[in-house]
């Protein structure tokens, strides 16, 4: 895979709560309130984006069908998105013009399944605070950064 530099990783539950927010981009001090605002804004954005995309898609969607979003890009960042069948949302921000990250997000989902879901001490739907998962995610992000 060509190098992809992940700046931030978000994992949201179906109900909008942020289960995981991890920044890889160096020393940016944010206070707790700013972080909470960021989580809410990000989920709100993803939610509205999904509604917008479903209404503007040229494809004829069936009843329950949704239009899968791959990423969106601004001048300052690119946000890659993947939603699982269970409604879990993975989002990763990278510098603009990064190549497609669907495979990478899939790998991170796999790490989630192996190190979070299968962890007996983790209760599904709660905030993820597991050293094993953190380590694996760190290692993978470092690996794909090239």
């Amino acid at each position: 895979m060509a190098p992809r530099k992940v700046d931030t990783l978000y994992i949201f539950a179906r109900d909008g709560s942020c289960l995981y927010l991890r920044k890889f981009a160096g020393e940016m001090k944010q206070d707790a309130k700013e972080v909470e605002i960021e989580k809410k804004n990000m989920f709100g954005l993803l939610f509205t984006l999904k509604t917008f995309v479903n209404s503007i898609t040229p494809r004829n969607l069936d009843e329950q069908e949704k239009e899968p979003i791959r990423y969106f890009q601004t001048a300052q960042y690119q946000l890659h998105y993947m939603e699982t069948a269970s409604g879990l949302r993975f989002a990763a921000s990278t510098p603009p013009n990064t190549r497609n990250m669907q495979v990478a997000l899939g790998r991170i989902y796999r790490l989630y399944v192996d190190y979070v879901l299968r962890n007996p001490s983790y209760r599904v739907g709660t905030v993820i605070n597991l050293a094993g998962f953190n380590q694996r995610v760190d290692a993978y992000v470092r690996e794909i950064a090239g």
Binding site: M28, E38, N41, M42, G44, L45, T48, L49, T51, F52, V53, S55, I56, T57, P58, R59, E67, P68, I69, R70, Y71, F72, Q73, T74, A75, Q76, Y77, L79
Partner: protein, 114 residues
């Protein structure tokens, strides 16, 4: 639709700016989904042009710039047009249509040659 996009645009912009300097919002320039892509051009005056197209249509940026020029020539220079009002000028629409058709034909040919 357009107002939803405008809101999204601003949201995306505020999530990107850590400094809080909100002089020029730098919002969504491109959305890529499985069946289509959307590209947006924001002018210095805050007007946003956006196009939806095939996912492999990579010629949209140039086309958007052309459409901006057509807008200034056929809409802004129309003596009866009031800024910020809906545009109902067939000269503008025809010109845009011909540019879009030409661009998408060229785009398709390029894709077929790949």
């Amino acid at each position: 639709m357009a107002s939803v996009f405008h809101g999204l645009y601003l949201n995306a912009s505020s999530l990107g700016q850590s400094s809080g300097d909100l002089r020029v919002p730098m919002g969504i320039e491109k959305i890529m989904t499985e069946s289509f892509r959307l590209e947006c051009l924001r002018t210095l005056t805050g007007i946003k042009f956006f196009l939806t197209a095939d996912p492999d249509a990579d010629y949209l940026k140039a086309l958007l710039n052309d459409i901006y020029i057509i807008y200034t020539d056929y809409v802004l220079k129309d003596p009866f047009y009031v800024v910020e009002m809906p545009i109902r000028l067939s000269s503008f629409e025809n010109k845009v249509m011909s540019y879009v058709l030409e661009a998408s034909e060229k785009g398709e040919m390029k894709n077929q040659n790949r």
